[in-house]
């Protein structure tokens, strides 16, 4: 059974049909990428899957259960975790606290025990801290643990957001342009990290503009253009697909024909 299935998903913003009848599915350990030109509806699709927008039509199934339109916090509790293209970080907290916040779902204990700092409560927060430090080491931020998150570089914040998403131990991880704004070395690190996480059984849905990265790590690619799915398949098949080539190069090719003609 697929971990995540999207069926006929669509949404309108006023007269604009931003996403129209898109469907695909993900299995455990699979890396699926959604690609397409700017404005194709990739982030909108992500926002519908993760509960930020309520879809106008279609369904989102998580382990066979209909979760269409559930609030993001409920999806997070069911094992769907995501990052944002434009970062959603607790700027006023330290790097460590940001990641620890991802542990709180499992950390939950009796309020009175917390108030009086009973041993159980202290143990829970120590475990969260240890777990958070392990994740920070994994994304290469262990040295920055005590720094205020707002002071980190953009590339570091990208990795911090991934670490926090991993703290929830998601079954499905949605990554919205994880490599955007990162240099070549950082991109490669993120690349490895994603492959590792997938190898542990987490399904990964990726939106990314770095085509080399997409082609290298994806098992399956879904191509959107003007809100519609125009192709899907393995990286080799997609990169040869004439409709994909047209969607990416068509406008430019036509423009240059006009210019020369």
């Amino acid at each position: 059974m697929s971990l995540l299935a999207v069926e006929g998903l669509g949404i309108r913003f006023g007269g604009l049909h931003a996403v129209k009848d898109v469907g695909f599915s993900l299995k455990a350990g699979e890396i699926v990428s959604v690609i397409g030109p700017n404005g194709a509806g990739k982030t909108t699709l992500f926002n519908m899957i993760s509960g930020v927008y309520t879809p106008g039509s279609g369904r989102v199934l998580l382990e066979g259960e209909d979760v269409t339109g559930l609030d993001p916090y409920l999806l997070a509790r069911r094992g769907l975790s995501r990052t944002f293209q434009n970062l959603q970080i607790f700027q006023a907290m330290t790097v460590l606290e940001n990641v620890m916040s991802g542990f709180h779902l499992r950390e939950r204990g009796p309020v009175l025990a917390d108030l009086f700092a009973l041993p159980g409560s202290r143990r829970r927060s120590r475990e969260a801290e240890e777990g958070a430090r392990r994740l920070l080491a994994r994304v290469g931020l262990e040295r920055a643990a005590e720094r205020e998150a707002g002071a980190l570089s953009y590339g570091a914040l990208k990795r911090l957001e991934i670490a926090r998403a991993l703290a929830l131990e998601p079954k499905i991880l949605l990554l919205d342009e994880p490599a955007a704004g990162c240099n070549a070395v950082e991109t490669e690190e993120i690349d490895h990290l994603i492959a590792e996480v997938a190898a542990e059984g987490t399904a990964i849905l990726l939106v990314e503009h770095d085509m080399k990265m997409v082609m290298r790590i994806s098992n399956h690619i879904v191509v959107l253009d003007h809100g519609e799915k125009i192709a899907e398949g393995d990286p080799a098949a997609v990169s040869r697909d004439p409709r994909v080539i047209e969607a990416y190069l068509g406008a430019q090719a036509q423009e240059s024909t006009h210019a020369h003609g």
């Binding site: 930020v52 609030d71 993001p72 916090y73 997070a76 509790r77 975790s81 995501r82 944002f84 959603q88 970080i89 607790f90 700027q91 006023a92 907290m93 916040s101 991802g102 709180h104 779902l105 950390e107 939950r108 204990g109 309020v111 917390d114 108030l115 700092a117 409560s121 205020e148 707002g150 002071a151 926090r164 998403a165 703290a167 929830l168």
Partner: protein, 290 residues
């Protein structure tokens, strides 16, 4: 010397009230970045409802509890009806909504409770207690004690409990809070309920000293807001100390200069502090990435 002690005692009493109002501001601000100018109305409602429940024959503790719970419910309803429905609007719009709510609640209170002053008997008698040469009313101890208990409770809540941390996380970044599984809608409900309840408690405690009427809220909201700003908006410790300092400043000014100038002097001092430390005494420096 006796004089000074007397001024300090009354300053602490007034300051404790400001501190309670400031703590109310702190909670809603922490959850939503909104400065709730209807906070003073919660204080008014707490006092008023207690007075009327007491007149209706309930013993004072029961009447007070009833008033606090009812005001908390009004706070929750206020959030549902006026704030949640405008979710996504800029914070400034939300603040203006709270000003509107404040005027609305006053209007309703004027119709329901009337325009006259209402009194409530003191909780433990009216015989002044002598401290050295100065005196203090027993009710003052209730006010000061109330502020202390609420402060300690909130401080533990925000620093020790997961739910308290969730409130802080929601204020810092609502989307990120949702991403880590925090029910931000519940956090808002809780914050408004708690804040209104604390405001009501302040109203219950001071009504025996200051009496109450439908329009006491505005002045208290302004002073509580000033206290919270002085201490650093969002910090419970700042709210407590800011509120107490404001009360002391007022009472010392009223005693040594003139009660005409007490508001002016208090606000001049606040302006001076905020010029030097825009975040307030205990405020956290705001870092915003563009």
């Amino acid at each position: 010397m006796t004089e000074l002690l007397q001024f300090l005692l009354s300053g602490i009493t007034v300051g404790a009230v400001y501190a309670l109002v400031a703590l109310g501001f702190t909670i809603i601000y922490n959850a939503s970045d909104v400065v709730n100018f209807a906070q003073g109305e919660f204080v008014m409602l707490g006092g008023m409802i207690t007075v009327f429940a007491y007149k209706a024959g309930l013993p004072i503790p029961v009447a007070a509890l009833f008033a606090i719970l009812l005001t908390a419910a009004i706070g929750v309803a206020f959030n549902r009806v006026a704030i949640e429905t405008a979710r996504g609007a800029p914070v400034v719009s939300l603040i203006i909504i709270t000003i509107g709510a404040s005027i609305f609640i006053q209007g309703v209170a004027q119709v329901v409770f009337g325009k006259e002053l209402h009194r409530l008997p003191s909780f433990s008698g009216d015989d002044p207690i002598r401290i050295l040469e100065a005196t203090i009313l027993p009710q003052s101890f209730w006010v000061i004690g109330g502020a202390m208990v609420v402060f300690v409770g909130l401080w533990l809540f925000f620093t020790r409990t997961l739910l308290g941390r969730a409130v802080l996380a929601t204020s810092n970044n609502r989307v990120a809070a949702q991403l880590v599984g925090i029910n931000t809608g519940f956090v808002m409900t809780l914050s408004f309920g708690l804040s209104a309840g604390i405001g009501a408690l302040a109203g219950v405690l001071i009504t025996p000293i200051t009496l109450t009427s439908y329009q006491v809220g505005i002045a208290l909201a302004l002073k509580g807001f000033a206290g919270a700003m002085l201490g650093g908006m969002g910090n419970p410790k700042g709210a407590l100390i800011g509120g107490l300092m404001l009360g002391l400043l007022e009472s010392v000014t009223a005693g040594y200069l003139s009660s005409q100038y007490k508001d002016a002097v208090a606000f001049v001092v606040i302006l001076a502090v905020l010029f030097a430390m825009p975040q307030g005494l205990f405020g956290r420096k705001a870092t915003e990435r563009v």
